[in-house]
Structure formats: C-alpha cells, structure tokens
Symmetry: C2
Subunit: 442 residues, 2 copies
Amino acid sequence: MEYVTGSCQPKDMEVSDLMLLEDGAQAKTHGMVYSIKDMGDFGFVTLRKRNALVQCVYEKENSNFELSDITTEASIEVTGTVKKDDRAPNGFEIHLVDLKVLSMPKEQTPVNLSKRKLGMTLETKVSMRPLTLRNNRERAVFKLQEGVVKGFREYFEKEGYTEIRTPKIVANGAEGGANIFKLDYFGKKAYLAQSPQFYKQTLVGVFEKVFEIGPVFRAEKHNTARHLNEYIGVDMEMGFIDSFVDIIEAETGALKHMFEVLKRDYDRELKILNITLPNIDKIPMVKFKDVKEMVAAEYNRKIKDPYDLEPEEEQLISKLFAEKYGSEFVFVTHYPVKKRPFYAMDDPEDPKYTLSFDLLFRGMEITTGGQRIHDYDTQVAKMISKGLDPADFETYLMIHKYGMPPHGGLGMGLERLCMKLMDGVNVREASMFPRDMSRLVP
Amino acid sequence: MEYVTGSCQPKDMEVSDLMLLEDGAQAKTHGMVYSIKDMGDFGFVTLRKRNALVQCVYEKENSNFELSDITTEASIEVTGTVKKDDRAPNGFEIHLVDLKVLSMPKEQTPVNLSKRKLGMTLETKVSMRPLTLRNNRERAVFKLQEGVVKGFREYFEKEGYTEIRTPKIVANGAEGGANIFKLDYFGKKAYLAQSPQFYKQTLVGVFEKVFEIGPVFRAEKHNTARHLNEYIGVDMEMGFIDSFVDIIEAETGALKHMFEVLKRDYDRELKILNITLPNIDKIPMVKFKDVKEMVAAEYNRKIKDPYDLEPEEEQLISKLFAEKYGSEFVFVTHYPVKKRPFYAMDDPEDPKYTLSFDLLFRGMEITTGGQRIHDYDTQVAKMISKGLDPADFETYLMIHKYGMPPHGGLGMGLERLCMKLMDGVNVREASMFPRDMSRLVP
C-alpha cells in the first residue's frame, strides 16, 4: 500500500529564500517568463514568481541553453548563481546556467504584459483579464484586496465574532425593490441574495457577533463607475449594543486594524501601487441633516433631494471634511426613514430619521449600517408602513417574536473601498472579473 | 465636531474574563436567558453567551428582582458575585444581585431550546433553524464548521496561496451537464457557478497557488442525504506541480493542520459534540481499478459500473481500509476518463484513466481533484472528444493558448466533511440553512 503523509517539503525556492542566499550561492527556482531582453550572447530574463519578479542574467558562455529556447509566458525552472545587486528587484539577480522548460505557450500574448502600466482602456483590460492580471501592477491590486479582507477578518476574529456563510439562493429579497435577480428553482421562484441581512441578524441570536465576507447580487439597471451587479460584501452584525455608535466604533477599529495588516504583510503591493494609506486616527461623525446644510452653505448649492445624498454631494462632503478636518473618512448619521430599509430602527428623538449611518471615503459611500429593530410589534408595524406584508417574512420574524438583543451592523462594498484606496475612478478596477449590465465574461 | 476613534474597550465580561475572577468578585455580564429553574425563593438561570453557557444562581433574599421578571430568550445584563464551583460549566457560577432587561421576547419559543439534544426530526429542526441554532449543541456544529474553514485557510496562507473570490454569475458551466441553475441576466442567459474551476485555473497563471472558500450551486435533481443544491466549496489550485500526487500531499497537509486548529481553538465544541478527531498520520492511496477489484473480492460483489464508484462501494472501501489499514481516509486515484470532466489530464501510461483522485472519508467522497490539461492543443482536442465546442470557452482557453504551468487542484465539500466529522448521516445536519429541491426557507 502506498501512503501520503502531507509532510513533503516545498520544492521551490521562493523569493524570500533566494534573498537569504549568499553571493555566489547556487539557486534553483521556477516561474513564468515575464520578459526577455535578448542582446545576442547576453540578455536578461525576468521571471514572474507568485509574489515578486526575479531578474535573471543570461550569458551565453556560462549557460547550457539558448535564449531562443524560451518565450514570454513559458513556465520554466532555472538553475544559476546568485549575485547580490542593489539595483535588482529584491536585491539580487540569478546568473543562469541551466534551464528546464515545463510548459510552452502555443502563441505569444497579443499585448506586452510586462509593461509597468499596461496602457489600455479599462474595457480592454477587463476583457483580457485572464492575461492582463499577469501584469505585476494589475495583480498587485488583487493581492492587496486579499490583504483588505484579511485585515477585516483578523479584527473580527480577535473581537470574538463568528464567521458565517449564509445562503445565496433565497426565497425573498432583504433590501426590497426591483434590484433583484430571479431564478427558477425547481419550478419555484427564487432570488439571489441582495445581502445576508436576514441571516446575519438571525445569527446574532445564536453567536452574538457575526461577520460574513461573500458575494452580493444586485440587479441594478445602471452601468456606472460605482456599480457592480455582483460584488463582495463585507458584512458584520453585533448584538447587545448600547447605541448604533458601537457599530461605528467597531468599523473604525476594523479599518485601523486593516491598515495595520496592509503595512505588515502587503508592503510590496503598497509600493507597486504607490499607495499612501490614509490617516485614520479619528473619524468625524456628522448628522445627515447637518451635513446637507453644511455643503449647501459652503458650496452655494440648493438641496434638491432632502432624503438622500446625491453622488455629487458625497464628493463635496469628502472635500469639505478633508480640507476642514483633515479626514478622508466621514461618518454621516441619521438618514431619513424614507430612504432606509424596513429593518432600520427609527430615532426615538426624531422619528423622521433612523439610527443609521453611511461611511464616506474619498467622495464615495463605502458602507451602510445602523441599528435594527429588535422588537416584534415595532418590526411588524414598520413593515406595514412600508407597504410590505409581514406574512412574507415569517421565518425572519421568528427572531423578533421569540427574542433578540438590541443589535445592529453594517455592510461594506469591498471593491469600492479598494478602488478608493488606490485612488481609482472606476469600481471595475478593483473587481477581478466584473459583472455589469453588459458584461458576463470573462 | 464629534469623532470616533475605534479604540473603545469592550464593555462586556466574556466567559474567559469571568473565569479569571477570584471567588467573591463582582461580575457584570450580558447574554440571553437559556433556561430558568424557578423554585420559589431560589432558582437557577442559565445565560447563553456567545461561546458558552454561564450558570447563575438566584436567591430571593440577595437579589433586587423577581425571577418572573424574565423569560427564556430574554436579553439581559446581570450583576452578581462569582462563586467558584467545579460542577458548573467553566468552573464558576454567578450569584445574582441586579438585573437589567435589555429586550423581552413577544412569545415563548414553541420548543424548549435548552435541552441537551433537541429530540426532533431533522426536517423540523431545519425548518426552525433561526431558533434551533440557539441550542448549545446545534450552534456548536456551526462554530466547529468555522474552525474547519479557519484550519484550511491558515494552512493555505502559510503555504503561500492567495485567497481569491471569483464570480458566481457566469456565462457557462464549468462542470457540464444539466445540473446548473439558469437565470435571466438583463435579457441574456446566465448561470450560477457550479465551481470556481475556470477562474482558479486562470489565477494559477497569476498567483501560482490559489484557494477559494465560497458558495457552489448545483441544480441536481435528487433529494438525498448527501446532496445540497447550494453548498460551501473549499477549492484550491496549485501551479508547477510535478505530479498530481503533489495535490494529494497538499490536501493531507491541509487536513492535518485543520485538525490541529480544531484541537487548539475549538476544544469546547469538540467536547459538546463528543468528537474524537480521526487519526491522520498517513493516508493510503489506491488506484480506482484496483480498489474496485479489492472490494469486489472482499465483499463478494459484482462490479456493476466500471466507470464510477457507487455510494455503496464508497462505504465498503472505507470499511475495508479502516479495518485492514487503520485509516478512515482513503485517496482513490486514476478515475476513468469517461467520468471525469474535460479539463482532467489523461494518464500517459493508460489514457483510459486520468491523473485524478477522490478522497473518501468514512464512506463518502468529500473531495475531487486532479491534474488539469495545460497544453492548448490537448485541451481543445479533449473538448471536442467530449462533444464540447471550444468556441464556447474562448476566455478560458486564453490561458492554455498563452501559457500555463503544469497545475492541478481540488474541490472539497465543506458540509460533507463536517457531517462526517460529527459522524452524522445527513449533510443537512452540517448546513445551517440547507437548500434542496423542496427547501428554500429559512
């Protein structure tokens, strides 16, 4: 009988291993050929490894192969001698001796993937993402995105939250409205989850504090720079809150920790993307009503929509708070009942408003949150006042009927946050394989 | 201007804090009332906190409230005196002095949630999951599931894998067949992803080693104890493999680490669920063809389906290997081409078989994996031989055309693994809100 033990050592020398080698040491490593500079008897080969580029030097007299044996995007294993060189990425280069070709492409890529910036329209870049993600800058965007997720997760774990994974095929929409994808489910009507709202509230009754990082589906019929029809939602929900400000505090703590994780583990990507992380010592908090008036006064604008913030207003709020208070983040609180979902708790001090908030970052809403109704009668009454039939929400209302602690939470759009971190202008820049009204591939 | 700093201290005393208190110390903590035992002037209140139960003692003469002020599932904050007691859960109880009611249920739950085992059919239990998950044993199942996910993630992170999140609305199915949910996507036909197969392979060309833990949708028309129509897939894919055994080794390593994490962080849940983790020092590996014959000989069976394993055969293989080789896990390798998808690499030594494997655990397949075709012409030819039109897979085939390292990976069903860990019999036991042909709620 043959056995596996799972204890085999990794066979490849990673960049971190190679960096530790002495000048003149032998190195063997694999990767994909990022670029080749062939100058006859001499040349350079840049190897793309999983987390960095490695510069290799080809000298015909010392090498047992020809540069013409390889092309870009070939998968190869090379053997050679390490030379320390401060000008090379990561401080070393490999002088090539032997080559083993593991796989050759059938054709050369239609674009040069090794340019520092690809220099193509976003539309073209996205259409060719299976290839363009191989560009060192492009892939750094999504490595950094991993770091953002890791930062949030670490924070919530440390704070005693339970990670949950809730169904994406659901019997009814949590956010109401027409922005919902329908599907046929064995002859029954079903929907794709617009948010994990009902489930995360339900699980507060079980685990007290929960978070979920997963796909969210919105059938919104506008193709804008800020909308995706499928995105990654970072959702949390906490029980036993004293006030909705507890949620705001938790988000601030989570963002701070996330930035620490990026500095700790994603320095390489921050440098490639030329990102300076925003200052987040303290974040101002201002009421919806007040900030509307502040912006109207400061920028001499008329208030057109008294119930919501227009995208232009979000930009002006960020501008105002960056200039006056030195903060690129602003919590706007107490949104009108009219624009908030049926589960939002009204402000007892002014029931036209809710105990809710949005977080704006560099001119864009990246989070929506607030306290939820936990009392059964209050929730049923509010459903009715919003034109909903409580009978449609029977399993959701179980939690209100049989007992829930005061609670609240938030949902954050991962791509929006990442896009703004990079100072981008289109959310598709931060979505690997974006889904919008006209795009289903790749 | 008001500011938030995210640095507020947690206000609640967790069980771990309470355990550290001296006998006689004052304690203040919140939770939901799990059970009440009212014996007149004396009684017990069990408080359900996020990760454990706390026993509280009510003595009328020392308490500033009546036991009738609360009911089960009320959310309360209690103040009292800690008494060390080895018989109480976690070694202490709280002698109650003050009570603050944070929220009262409207009605009492139709079932007693605080029983050690709920004692109802799985069907009833699942229908009432918003409540039944509040049972201490039921919630332990899903806390443990978090630990399983955490274990895998820690392993893959440590090994240099990148965590990815790929689209769930897709233009075509990765696994073929009719087991796919269709939806209308702005007038175009779209599908729910049957697996992240195409995307994870694509991202091997970018990050070399990737993993994804996310929802998977299968429109399978059988309501069995082993099928779910939506489940959590644990997927990984690695580049630069020497052989498909590299993937098997990686899975073995991941399982070992996962068990370590369960022992390290989920001891409480292992005890509640009475789980003894299986021995996993080494896992036997046997060829499909050979194991078929072994089982036929050992149990005097006829081989009915030469191309796949029947569920009963999977059970017998596990029985055989547990008895003869002391292993509850078995890797079965080299499945027939006929039953493996179009991206599976054929075995060069016998092209009727593939370089693939399943992992069986306690009588059930929990993982499918193998080496993938990386060569463009080979992949196109195999698509055609399987009756597929390569033109339907244009963006997928970009990676083969423009270069891919030898690679492979696996997909594991989280609920199946968890169900078998608990020695369960129905996969719904390990799915919080299962989706099957007849179930869309809760």
